[in-house]
């Protein structure tokens, strides 16, 4: 597309596509070597294509000083996390990038290096994209593609009253990791703070849960907006109420250490449940499916922990040990 003449153009887009991004399409004939106007996917009978997209803006979703290889990996991972929640097998992605003048060759090279690293880690490939200059902050988006057997995508809308609500891994590390990355966390040892910051900068999408979810979950979402919000999304999409017990939330050791220093434990737990960027999976399962789901998750190297229940009605009910927590204290508002 033509560009207005005043735009700075420090790096040649054609060069950067040819030298940095074309290698990322290797093994994906669908990409046509980034030499065409579009990518082309053959139909895969018996399968559905799952498509998700996320945008990340410098100063909004990542810090200007964050290394760009990590930004690229986080961008892929937040998209892979959406695929994971749908029990889809990651397949490929398209990339859009609007580069500010500060992103010269070394910065773009770092970004492409991060993509390459996580392509290998997750078995995905670049299929296409578009790049532009921008007078503003670095703005990048990925559209990720995954496959499920036909009809097997786990939706947000399948939860039914009587289901158990479960969450993978640990909750609150994203929020605490952001605090740690901004140097706003106190009372923790340096390695605990570093661990949290690393969890924030480089989440682990739970792609290995897909078999367990597909076999045993009635509904699932990834925890990107925060456990309360994303559990609430399942409730909304399913037309049910969600009851969440903050005392049941699985916490990492660094999060437990942080919690021990907080004057108001209930408020602190609610803060963790409201925080985003955990990239865990929150899901619902029939009571009799909880044990097989947990066993399948364990076999995949992950814990899933019951944190609440699905009930008739609507809205999110937050409790501690069965005793309601006032909505005002949760900081959560209905989406």
């Amino acid at each position: 597309m033509g560009r207005l003449p005043q735009t700075p153009k420090p790096v040649d887009e054609f060069d950067s596509i040819a030298r940095l991004f074309r290698p990322l399409t290797e093994g994906a004939p669908e990409a046509l070597g980034l030499m065409d106007d579009a990518a082309v996917l053959a139909s895969r009978p018996g399968h559905d294509l799952v498509i998700t997209t996320d945008v990340m803006v410098e100063g909004v979703h990542f810090l200007p000083e964050d290394p760009l290889d990590l930004v690229a990996r986080k961008l892929l991972r937040v998209n892979l996390s959406d695929l994971a929640a749908k029990a889809a097998e990651p397949f490929a992605y398209l990339l859009n990038a609007a580069w500010p003048a500060r992103c010269g060759w070394p910065e773009r090279e770092a970004f492409a290096r991060g993509l390459a690293e996580d392509q290998r880690a997750f078995g995905i490939r670049l299929l296409g994209g578009d790049t532009s200059s921008t007078p503003g902050p670095l703005t990048v988006s990925v559209t990720a593609l995954g496959w499920t057997p036909a009809g097997a995508m786990v939706k947000r809308s399948g939860a039914r009253p009587g289901d158990v609500l479960l969450v993978s891994g640990s909750i609150g590390d994203g929020l605490l990791g952001l605090k740690a990355a901004r140097g706003e966390i106190t009372g923790l040892s340096a390695d605990k703070a570093d661990w949290l910051a690393a969890r924030y900068r480089l989440p682990s999408p739970r792609v290995e849960l897909r078999g367990a979810l597909r076999a045993h979950a009635t509904a699932a979402a990834d925890v990107s907006d925060g456990l309360m919000a994303d559990a609430g999304h399942i409730g909304e999409a399913s037309g049910v109420a969600i009851s969440l017990d903050l005392d049941l939330m699985p916490l990492s050791d660094p999060a437990k250490a942080w919690l021990a220093f907080q004057p108001d434990r209930a408020a602190a737990l609610a803060e963790l449940a409201a925080g985003g960027d955990d990239y865990e999976i929150v899901c619902a399962a029939r009571p009799e499916a909880v044990a097989p789901l947990a066993a399948a998750a364990r076999a995949a190297g992950l814990a899933v922990t019951p944190v609440g229940k699905v009930e008739a009605g609507e809205g999110l009910r937050v409790s501690r040990g069965g005793r309601p927590v006032e909505p005002a204290r949760t900081g959560w508002r209905h989406g």
Copy 2:
């Protein structure tokens, strides 16, 4: 995804998704009402899915004062133009938007209204997306999906020596339209200047050419970077040389009027052939397919004009009436 606390948030993203964007998914069960982490497409046996994506940045691809309904329509249309060049039938799209604080409710409403209008015009629907705030300029991208019968996508790489090079519609209106929109064009009547500016602001993707291209073209690309660049892309992808005759380029009446005022006709023609944003289709066809291609295009309401030839070798050869134009005078460099 979590947002850093300092971000301004003038419009609630959930509200804007529910009220402005969810209605755009009507009739597309694949979108799951934007209530899920992803969209899901059933396999369509016998068909290939064609995927393309384009990003537009305020101040780079559009002017800050451009009405946002037109920006939205242009964003869809530049993507539809890529699908058109691949002879794909437009199907649906995903949208990413990073909104600056200046884009309040009325601006987003205008943007959504533009999307709705062109959804109707082109028979496409919204399947998913992501929105964010941004401290920078409005940055929007669309990933567009289209269908072709299996194996029937027209690629850039199919041109063979002996093919005729053709282009749809008229060339140079994008460049002149940008000049007109910036008030930088002189010597034209107001309605000619307005017509050009409208062509720049709202291109017409040549989706109606798909039958003609599928039946008769060996290769095609859309003219977004400029006729020389995009014809050059066909040459590169096909491993052939492209010979382009500037005197054969189809020009609109306003472009002819502009040309009449230019002191150096060769330089002016080269400028039109180097300019972007025409969103015509440049394609190659066997000599015996030229008449049927032109007839099929005419039946679809469009002219296609021979503008050159495909030859053995590599690179772009620019001539006027068969006489070479020095490469330095074309302003075009090899991508």
